[in-house]
């Protein structure tokens, strides 16, 4: 099948065209608003049509997202959106399929579907809104909450080691893995644009503030005054360097791990040059482990962007090859493919 979005000229749209008539019902001040706004603003620039775009979600605050997009959409059940998206993307390679999910939806109840969708390289773009808390059920700890987190369900503190969503995605060898945050619309839009452009499974973690149940979880790194020294922008082909004066960088240790260094101490040549296209996910995995939580300098941007053939395309190729080899399906011949006999 050909890519319809490329072969048919797409009508010019504005952000308004991509907004549905439904009232947005997130809590005032929720980080989801800025993500929705970034997506709706980006869509007219992508050169795609509304009728060929589908937003799928599971359950959670983030999962209301499809209702607000004037596209095709489905608000499904908890954790299952990647599974549903797999069937849709595998049968409809002409569509742009987005999956909107949260930390509970994607990493707890839906963990299994997430890793397998990534492993299979299904042609979907996954936006994971990570707020490190369960919002819709009113404030229990999530699989990305920090150890000792005190919540409604952990009055004595959480005992669980959190998932690192990027490490998980890279462990599943996702072809496209990136991180952005809800305080920087431009960065979000650029990251989403890249994720959309990637053929196959794309995974974007978005640090998203839940101002009701986990307010300020990322403030230490995403706050306007903190960003320069706490966010490490990853730029392909460039030395990894950050800080208000560019005084910090990232270097590799002898054991292959990476660490934050002072440029003045190690020298510019010692800095790691970022390469999104490394086939081996090892280095990007190390970068995903650089920060232990949103209180240390944390890389954002595209960690990995490697092209492999996407799943639905491969399915189509098998069908084409079988049809080529045997001719189009002949039902009468199928019925007689075992031993058949005639009674006269």
């Amino acid at each position: 099948m050909t890519d319809v979005s490329e072969s048919v000229p797409v009508a010019l749209t504005t952000r308004k065209d991509w907004s549905s008539d439904q009232e947005v019902r997130w809590c005032p001040g929720c980080g989801d608003y800025s993500i929705l706004s970034a997506v709706q603003t980006l869509m007219p620039d992508l050169g795609v049509s509304r009728e060929s775009t589908v937003f799928l979600s599971g359950i959670g605050c983030a999962a209301r997202f499809p209702y607000y997009m004037n596209t095709y959409g489905m608000h499904s059940i908890h954790g299952r959106a990647p599974a549903i998206a797999t069937g849709l993307a595998a049968t409809r390679p002409d569509l742009d399929v987005w999956v909107v999910t949260g930390d509970g939806d994607a990493l707890s109840i839906g963990g299994n579907h997430l890793i397998h969708a990534l492993r299979r390289n299904v042609n979907i773009t996954i936006l994971l809104f990570n707020n490190q808390i369960y919002g819709l059920t009113k404030g229990q700890y999530s699989p990305t909450s920090e150890v000792a987190k005190v919540t409604k369900s952990t009055p004595f503190g959480s005992l669980e080691q959190p998932f690192n969503p990027l490490s998980l995605a890279l462990g599943a060898e996702a072809g496209f893995v990136a991180r952005t945050h809800d305080m920087d619309r431009k960065h979000m839009m650029e990251t989403f644009r890249r994720a959309h452009a990637h053929k196959g499974a794309s995974f974007v973690e978005i640090y998203q503030n839940c101002n009701v149940f986990n307010d300020g979880a990322f403030e230490k790194i995403t706050g306007k005054d903190n960003r320069a020294d706490m966010l490490i922008p990853l730029v392909h082909g460039e030395a990894i360097r950050f800080g208000s004066e560019g005084q910090f960088g990232v270097a590799m240790n002898r054991d292959g791990s990476v660490e934050v260094v002072e440029v003045a101490t190690v020298g510019e040549d010692a800095l790691l040059v970022h390469d999104e296209h490394l086939e081996n996910p090892g280095l990007s995995f190390q970068l995903s482990r650089l920060s232990r939580g949103p209180y240390e300098p944390t890389p954002i941007g595209v960690f990995r962007d490697v092209d492999h053939e996407e799943y639905g395309q491969q399915m189509t190729e098998q069908i084409d090859a079988a049809t080529e080899r045997r001719g189009p399906g002949d039902f009468a011949a199928l019925l007689r493919s075992g031993s058949s006999w005639t009674v006269s």
Partner: protein, 638 residues
Amino acid sequence: MSDTTIDPKSPHLIDRVVIRFAGDSGDGMQLAGDRFTTSSALFGNDLATFPDFPAEIRAPAGTLAGVSAFQVHISDHSISTPGDSPNVLVAMNPAALRANVAALPQGATIIVNSDAFDERNLAKAGYDVTPLGDGSLSAFTVYEVPMTSITTESSKELGVKPRDAERSKNFFALGLISWLYTRPVEPTVEWIAEKYAGKELIKEANQRAFKAGYHFGETAELFESSYEVKPAVLEPGEYANVTGNTAAAWGLIAASIRSGLPLFLGTYPITPASDILHELSKHKQFGVRTFQAEDEISGIGAALGAAFGGALGVTTTSGPGLDLKSEMMGLAISLELPLLIIDVQRGGPSTGLPTKTEQADLLHAMYGRHGEAPVPIVAAKTPSHCFDATIEAVRIAVKYRTPVILLSDGYLANGTEPWKLPDLEDLPSIDPDIATGPNHVEDDGTESFWPYLRDETTLARPWAPPGLAGLEHRIGGLEKSDGSGNVAYDGANHELMTRLRAAKIAGIANDIPPTEVDDEDGAEVLVIGWGSTYGAIAAGVQRVRARGLKVAQAHLVHLNPFPADLGDVLKRYQRVLVPEVNLGQLSRMLRAEYLVDAVSLTQVSGIPLRAASMETAILQMIEDSADMSSATGEGSDR
């Protein structure tokens, strides 16, 4: 086999025979049974088969747990079951004998591989002394044949290692039975050549073993005569011998062609349903997409995603998987999208009896979801009927935009029967009726698309897969506003939508055939069943009628909704008997729906119902019915 001459004594004519091949799971009994079946089918017999194998792939050799059996019933007239009990048992070792001897009627023939009856194997099977010498088999005719040694001897000059040579002994047994029942020889010799093409030594060893078995029967003067079952009179046409799973897979392809919808199967391997996946995955030239998911949930989820995209979404499973799919079925009910769930039932609860048959998922199919969540249920009644039942289930799913559960079971899945091949053009055509444009005018005069604006007759909503401009819409598991489909939490709308969803499914009763009742002469007793019990019930009914007694039979294909006339049908009979391979699930539904005093007859032993027990139960009920009539003074002059 040019040196083979036909027995000078012409074969003894019999009208039918039931043969059971039994041995270790590694002995190749399924293969031998299957091949005997094929040659009988090609010969023109009517037949039915019943493979019965353990859940373990290779249980310890020689033990009762490892016994694998294949039963085949061949006849010169129309039959409907694989036979209650074997007339002939081929037992490859003591365990196979011990596991099956209880099923044999007096006078049955037992052919044992005497080489396998050594001390070690006897002990493994739990025999202190050999049953061949202690008189315990005196009710049967026992033939002791040293199958292993003759088989090994037959391929000695080929230079095959004795251990490998021995593995051909299933072909020896097949050869012997082929002689005993006068099956043509050449087709099997050719079939072996084809099957083992490229493996010269194995091919030659198997052919020699097969011929050795045939010659042994002919020359050993052990058997008084051979037997012949003449071809049955079948309707003219082309036939194939199909399992229920193959028939279901082909039914899906047929439904895909007849609807024009591309087929997508999302599934997870599970016994006894996996063969549907295996079969479909071979036929990609029909545009079939098969997806082996990470779990049962993803299997149905992907199928639902494909349905959202305009494909024919199907998932296949068995009981444990049906449990896991419940949540996604609820979503499909809410989304009102076509979806087919094929449940090939097996013994439960939990892992239960993976390779044994049971029909105990009916109430789960009916009620196994939270909330008011009705789904249509269709059940196949014979292996070949899995084909028609699949197409019917797809027809309902597509026309009414609803998930449909198709119930098959382990017995239908693996059992076979001759099937008159249909013409594609004669199959029902299925109109997907995809939405083509806006269906609503807003207050301001603009045209829009309302995903939940229903068809007045069917109450089905429009199906608008992504791709059409102007029809963009969002659906989900939250309750939706009637018509617009927008999220709605108000009680009155929920009440309306709940009743609409129920009415939509209930209304299918007007779109299915009336109850088919086989009642030629006004009986007082009705036997009503569903699913794979059809053959046993029909055979039981025939036996009762052969005694000059009256009994009616009905068999339900649609379990939800029931045919519109079912209540009236039930009320026409004084007594209603409901045989089932569960603890009385259909009888419960009939009693609840129609306030009829249905009598439940149940069995859950992992095997199909027997014609003989059907006969006994029906006779008992006729007797009771006569007693009741005389007690109440009612005549039986209807």
